[in-house]
């Protein structure tokens, strides 16, 4: 219903990512960031002025990672090597809409999800920055601060996994 009035199709890659996530990948991509964020929350809250300085570094990091993800998707989609051809034919065990997807699609989902989540994180960090400047209540800022930390760790781990997967794909062709 909401979709009639608002563009929400960017959620598809996120849902596809969640549908194709295996347990150990979920533990790595989501479990570790939650665990680390909780440790930081109980040791660092409430946030201090020094910690707020992370905003600048995080924006720079995300800009680099967004560039990296776009490049990866470009390489993946324009490559016509033998390995990529075989990758498109090789069926994965994962399913979307009860149909098995290819390993190529799985890799594509990984990179696209990473790119979307990086953009959303960038938006979240910018929101946090605006809230700080407007002196919005501390609990809301604090919550958003640690949510951003979670997203940053999540993005780093996803990029690490995507890069490793891409490495294995190219490794076979050698």
């Amino acid at each position: 219903m909401l979709g009639r009035f608002l563009y929400l199709e960017f959620l598809f890659p996120i849902l596809d990512y969640l549908k194709t996530l295996e347990l150990r990948e979920g533990t790595y991509d989501l479990g570790i960031p939650v665990y680390v964020t909780l440790i930081l929350y109980f040791n660092l809250a409430p946030i201090t002025a020094d910690q707020k300085s992370i905003i600048g570094s995080a924006i720079a990091l995300l800009a680099i990672l967004i560039g990296f993800s776009i490049t990866s998707i470009t390489v993946l989609s324009t490559s016509s090597g033998e390995a990529i051809k075989l990758l498109k034919e090789k069926k994965s065990k994962r399913m979307i809409s009860k149909k098995p997807i290819s390993l190529f699609q799985l890799l594509h989902i990984g990179f696209t999800y990473a790119l979307i989540i990086e953009i959303l994180t960038l938006a979240s960090i910018l929101t946090f920055s605006v809230l700080l400047r407007c002196n919005v209540s501390s609990p809301l800022c604090s919550g958003l601060y640690f949510f951003n930390i979670f997203l940053l760790i999540h993005i780093i781990l996803i990029n690490l996994r995507n890069t490793t997967n891409f490495y294995f794909v190219l490794f076979k062709s050698e």
Partner: protein, 293 residues
């Protein structure tokens, strides 16, 4: 030439080191043992079971390109010479057979040697040799082989187990106890689909094996049933289940999902004159079955 169905049974024979049961043994030593036995003259090669008036002996041993091996055991029952009955007119006459003579009954066997066991096919013959007696026969010569050759084979015990032919689950339920279970996982379960795609784990030669042992006096039947449910689904990471247990007659039984075969009989040609099966034809069919396994 007429044909006849012959029932066959499957067994697993394994040489195991008596002193070091966990140490792998060279299973091909069994071939040396047969070559050793066949050199003897009949008098030394025979095993006389006095209480049954039966003699068993290795009659022939040959290799089929070292892939499978063929064995013929000869059995004869003596001290049995009732008069002969003419089935046409009902008359009887004295049996010309001497008291120490008997009709030779051939039992055909074929085996192939695997890395850690030997798969044996044996003709099921009432008047021939049974598996237990056959192993006794080998054990008798195993000891002599050691005495004369000072060979390590003396340290080996020859164990045997039945390899059932029916459905795995049916056979599993018929066991009185399940002592050891081995679950073979696909080595690909070690990594992600991309790692498997890269074929980096190809150099891992064997699958991952998880071994389960029942505590003394207990059975792991329920555990194996649970594992079998997981094995019996599409794309299961479990490649094979192998269990050791005892049947109601207290015989060792090995159940292996890879080695369950439906074959129970072979159809062989019979010599019209003697009613004896054609050995070459029998071994040809044994070979086909063994090479499939």
């Amino acid at each position: 030439m007429s044909t006849r169905d012959r029932k066959i049974n499957f067994y697993v024979i394994a040489l195991s080191n008596i002193d070091l049961p966990d140490q792998p043994c060279n299973q091909s030593e069994i071939v040396n043992l047969f070559n050793y036995i066949i050199r003897f003259v009949w008098q030394e090669r025979k095993m006389d079971i006095n209480r049954e008036n039966k003699v068993h002996a290795l009659d022939s041993f040959s290799s089929n390109d070292n892939a499978t091996y063929h064995v013929v055991m000869k059995t004869a029952k003596y001290r049995h010479r009732p008069p002969l009955l003419d089935t046409i007119n009902g008359t009887e006459r004295d049996n010309p057979k001497r008291i120490h003579e008997g009709e030779p009954e051939k039992t055909h066997l074929a085996f192939k040697v695997l890395a850690d066991e030997i798969i044996l096919i044996m003709e099921d013959k009432k008047n021939g040799i049974a598996i237990g007696r056959f192993i006794d026969y080998l054990n008798k010569f195993r000891k002599r082989y050691f005495d004369e050759n000072n060979n390590d084979i003396a340290k080996y015990a020859i164990d045997w187990s039945i390899l059932p032919k029916d459905d795995f689950l049916y056979e599993l339920r018929s066991l009185s106890s399940v002592k050891i279970g081995e679950v073979y996982y696909d080595k690909q379960c070690m990594g992600s689909e991309f790692l498997n795609w890269s074929e980096r784990t190809e150099n891992v030669q064997r699958d991952i094996v998880i071994s389960m042992r029942a505590i003394r006096g207990e059975s792991i039947f329920d555990t194996i049933m649970d594992v079998y449910d997981k094995f019996n689904v599409t794309d299961s990471v479990i490649k094979k289940i192998r269990i050791s247990g005892k049947n109601i007659n207290n015989n060792n039984v090995i159940l292996d999902t890879d080695l369950i075969k439906k074959t129970e009989h072979v159809t062989v040609d019979i010599e019209e004159e003697t009613g004896v099966v054609n050995t070459a034809e029998m071994f040809r069919q044994f070979n086909e079955i063994l090479l499939e396994m």
